[in-house]
């Protein structure tokens, strides 16, 4: 089939930020499916709680303090996270490097506290279904936390190499910021389910 | 293609009609619940067949219609397109009306089913086991509670309430001639009400896959006139008859010495196991191993000698017995009427 040139694309930029990029949409799609996973796990927890005559099932309520500290740390991390995003969109190398180091530390800190959350649940996963669901919810979120902290660490390392000076890297940064928001926001309902729902009554 | 359609329809109707006489057929109702459902099946089938034939007719017409002259594929006749839009909307409207009708019909059928057992005098608790049915006739007097297995006697012409549950995996209780199926789920209790209009033996079988011997987990509902049923019940409530012959006596002793007692119960003896069918009146039943074999001396012997060959995977173990011992136990069990 013969062709006739009708549109010239030569002036288009070679990278973009946020919803202009496929990666952002890919990240959004993964958030959707992981969010669905969270929702279903939370739904299963509520389903079992609804069926059960008492909740928590023969166990003391969990100690909420480690979880509360994690919550505060995660919420606090949102501020530097968004400052980092602004610098990434401006392709500013030095502040971005600093921001990434800060975010790496702010990712590791809740992970450390998270370690103390598991014993604070006051029940084991194999005691009864209530214990199983607490461990599942906490484990599911911890897996996401570890994954995104790992991602942040790799990006940080990358930004200190010769590969740093590229528009694509800055765009990737934006997507990492985006995903961290997701990790923080999914924690809030899980936090409430684990620590505060057993205190209702 | 049209010819094929007719052939298929013909074959279908012949097969369906002949099915009405099947032993376990949903279209051979012997009670009000199954009757309501059979009617519903016929109605849906007829309506769906009409709809299907209509769609196929239109499809055939698209094939035999005069062709549109071949030209630019994007030049379409506006009048004809408008016409088609109207027809498509009309078809859609008709679809919606049919579906609403069918939904209402289902709803009212459901109500009819729910009304069947509202005044049931008899409650039978059926517990599913891999791969047999434990049947308990509930009664406010503890000494009138009867536990038996696999065959369920009910009074004909009266609604009976079944409470369904399970202690292992999920099973489903289904006697197509009498009612639709309902699952037996560990941790849940389901209620099924049914009524047999006339005396008869109605076969059912487990309808939820439950493992190796799902295929051989059948049950029989035996509907009898009230007096016959009462007599049966009183008979079953008595402890087992003592062994009559010396051989049976030997079998009785062997039964109590061997692993048989670990699982089976025989009323009036020390055999009190509850993980396998109650054998107090085993010989009064028509079948063995949840409908796998007909009750007979030979089959009893075969079943005890080689349960895994007859029902592979069943939880009945092979008990090491020599020929005489086997004969003695069979003689004993055969007397348990």
């Amino acid at each position: 089939m013969k062709q006739r040139p009708s549109v010239d694309l030569s002036e288009l930029p070679t990278f973009g930020h946020g919803p202009r990029t496929p990666t952002w949409w890919g990240t959004l799609a993964f958030m959707a499916l992981e969010g669905m996973g969270f929702a279903l796990a939370a739904g299963s927890y509520l389903y079992l709680a609804y069926l059960s005559p008492q909740w928590p099932l023969s166990a003391p309520t969990p100690n909420h303090w480690p979880g509360t500290i994690v919550t505060l740390l995660l919420l606090a991390s949102l501020v530097p996270n968004h400052i980092l995003k602004r610098y990434a969109e401006a392709c500013a190398m030095v502040p971005v490097r600093i921001g990434l180091v800060v975010m790496s530390l702010l990712g590791i800190a809740p992970l450390v506290v998270r370690w103390f959350e598991f014993p604070a649940l006051n029940i084991y996963w194999d005691t009864n279904a209530y214990g199983s669901m607490l461990w599942v919810l906490l484990g599911l979120h911890t897996a996401h936390l570890i994954t995104d902290v790992g991602d942040t660490l790799v990006l940080t390392a990358l930004m200190f190499t010769r590969h740093a000076n590229s528009g694509r890297r800055f765009a990737d940064m934006g997507d990492n910021v985006f995903y961290w928001d997701f990790v923080v926001l999914t924690w809030i309902p899980i936090y409430l389910l684990i620590y505060w729902m057993p205190r209702l009554d | 293609m049209r010819r094929l359609v007719w052939v298929m329809c013909g074959a279908a109707s012949i097969l369906l009609l002949s099915g009405c006489s099947g032993w376990q057929s949903a279209l051979d109702p012997k009670g009000p619940a199954a009757g309501e459902l059979a009617w519903l099946i016929w109605f849906f089938t007829a309506l769906c067949t009409v709809v299907w034939l209509l769609v196929m007719t239109v499809l055939l017409m698209t094939l035999i219609r005069r062709a549109r002259p071949i030209g630019d594929p994007l030049v379409l006749d506006a009048t004809s397109e408008r016409h088609k839009t109207r027809i498509v909307f009309a078809a859609l409207g008709a679809t919606a009306v049919i579906l609403i009708g069918l939904t209402l019909l289902s709803f009212f059928a459901n109500r009819t089913l729910a009304a069947i057992g509202s005044d049931a005098a008899l409650t039978i608790r059926v517990t599913g086991h891999q791969w047999w049915w434990e049947v308990r006739y509930e009664n406010s007097q503890p000494n009138r509670i009867l536990t038996t297995a696999n065959e369920i006697h009910i009074p004909a012409g009266e609604p009976v309430r079944f409470i369904l549950t399970s202690t292992d995996v999920i099973h489903s209780f289904w006697v197509p001639n009498l009612a639709g199926k309902l699952d037996l789920i560990p941790g849940h209790e389901n209620v099924l009400d049914l009524k047999a209009d006339k005396p008869g033996v109605y076969r059912g079988q487990c309808a939820e896959f439950c493992g190796a011997q799902h295929a051989n987990m059948s049950t029989f509902v035996i509907a009898e006139p009230r007096p016959v049923f009462e007599a049966w019940l009183n008979d079953q409530l008595r402890p087992a008859v003592p062994p009559a012959s010396p051989e049976a006596k030997a079998g009785h002793d062997l039964f109590l010495k061997r692993p048989c007692v670990m699982c089976h119960k025989i009323g009036g003896t020390i055999a009190g196991g509850t993980v396998a069918p109650d054998l107090t009146h085993v010989a009064s039943r028509q079948t063995l191993a949840a409908g796998t074999l007909a009750m007979s001396r030979g089959n009893l012997a075969a079943w005890i000698a080689d349960p895994q060959g007859i029902k592979p995977g069943a939880h009945m173990p092979v008990v090491d017995l020599n020929g005489d011992e086997l004969n003695a136990i069979v003689a004993y069990l055969e007397g348990l009427r």
Binding site: T14, F15, S44 | L99, I170, K181
Partner: protein, 652 residues
Amino acid sequence: MSSADLAHGRDLASEGKLAPERDGPRDTGLDDDSLDRWLARTWQTAPGIIGALSTVDHKIVARRYLITAFVFLCLGGLNAVAMRVQLSGPERGLIGPDLYNQLFTMHGVTMMFLFAVPIVQASGIYLVPLMVGTRNIAFPRLVAFSFWIFLSGGMFAWVSFALNMAPDVGWFAYVPLSGPEFGPGKRADVWAQMITYTEVSALAVAVATIVTVLKQRAPGMSLDKIPLYVWAMLVTSFVVVFAMPAVMIASTFLILDRLVGTHIFNPAEGGDALLFQHLFWFFGHPEVYIIFLPATGMVSSIIAAFARRPVFGYLGLVLSLIAVGFLSFGLWVHHMFTTGLPKLGASFFTASSMLIAIPNGLQIFCWLATLWDGRPIIRTPLLFVFGFFFIFVAGGLTGVMLASVPLDLQVHDTYFVVAHFHYVLIGGSVFPLLGAAYFWFPKITGRMMNERLGRWHFWLAFIGFNAAFFPMHIVGIWGMPRRVYTYPAELGWGDINLFITAGAVVLFVSFALFTINLVHSALRGAPAGNNPWNAGTLDWATSSPPASYNFARIPVVTHVEPLWAERGTLPVATGLRVDARELVISTVAEAHPDVREKSPTPSIWPLFAALAVGGTFLYSIFSPWAVVWGAGPIAITLVGWFWPRGSAEDEE
């Protein structure tokens, strides 16, 4: 349309600071031959084994996907034939319950998870980038990774079968039968981990498909100009994204119960057996539409090409796709009508199940209205579409019967249901897929399929299918439950079962014929040319088979059937680099070209990552520590995957 229009708005240059941009030669003004040389070198898959294992060409990956899924179809079909032989008469002793239960479980698992979903997704991997006019699928490394996951997951299941440890709990593996107490051995673990694992691949492909459709459409392909097949794949992918997590959660809960002693499904410790069913069917019902919706897209494509007109009711069809996608999540409970749920709730699900027949009906009416206009020459693809109408409409109507709570109480878990879902899935999906195979085979191989063999194939498949499955409706109503390895003679099901088995053999023979046709035509078929059916979508604008870069110049779209609207000359875009894998990223709704982004280069790391993930899953059947030990290798391979290598594609 001018370039100024298309590249409107938020220009990056206007946002100030830019990372340094390197530049390379552009296609503007290049003659066709040198353009082809440049692009072929840039987009090629390197020769040799490493090149083959590293490829990210969506067409090559899709071809592998298609062939692998076809092999699984044949294996699943063999399972079915074995079962049919056992059931051909009452009390046959050819196959015992232990093997029979593995056979039907493997048949279901293979057909649903290893054939149906992969093959519709693979067709999308091949066709969607071509239809939307782009050079590769989005996230091609992820798609390559998905293929390796799918292949190894399928092999995992089938090696288990060879070792006599295949799952034997049915494809929906209800607890407690599959739970720790009643499912001894590793069989149910194989089910759980194989499901979780292969669904990773389905999810990844769904994400790639969504992003390809939303962001990589050719300039001008606004939402109202997207081909119906692409719409179908888009909706399907969304359904995958929201449905598959449910089965992964269910299978993960199951493996936790089995492996580390949680009690999620254990009623004795506060768990619940029905929770598993809710989770499974929340996935399981949309699953049917995941398999069916892409097939409707294929039907639309074939009908449009043969009726020689755009499909009637484009908007209605798009809306019904979306409606079906949404509604498919609202009717899972109709698989659980016999579990004793509250009556009122069950009635709600009757209504919602009935409701989904409305958009599906609309699709049928629109296709009939399209066919009404023309008197197409009947070739094999269209024959299969007619077969689709014949069978699927019947299956849809029996679906309406099953939607009724009381009626379902009689036919649930009987052969009536087996008949119904084979009518829906084979009629609704496999027949269109076979039509699509004849339709797009020329595009994929450059050769036509043999028409004579094709007709034989169709008629054998059509007769064999109906002979095998129609009588199942009847024997189901006669009381024959599904999943029984034997039945007593006195129930009178013997003759009809023998007839069914004969039909199944004819159906199987038709597939043997199809295989012969595929091989024969791939080697000796008549050359096809670019557009053998004179169809109107962009996939037919490429050569057959398409070059590695798909389009020498990206087409500019002005109509839903661009090749019919622009007969003679196709408007195209220029200005892309030819020395790097450059794609046009466009805006979501209007498809204005927005960014020239680079598409990833071939990489061996997706294969390594799949091996690491696969090893972890395999090990997890035996020990929960697999997750800990597997985390390291997975992390390493993922870093290897994403770490830039210094190519233009990585750096800019």
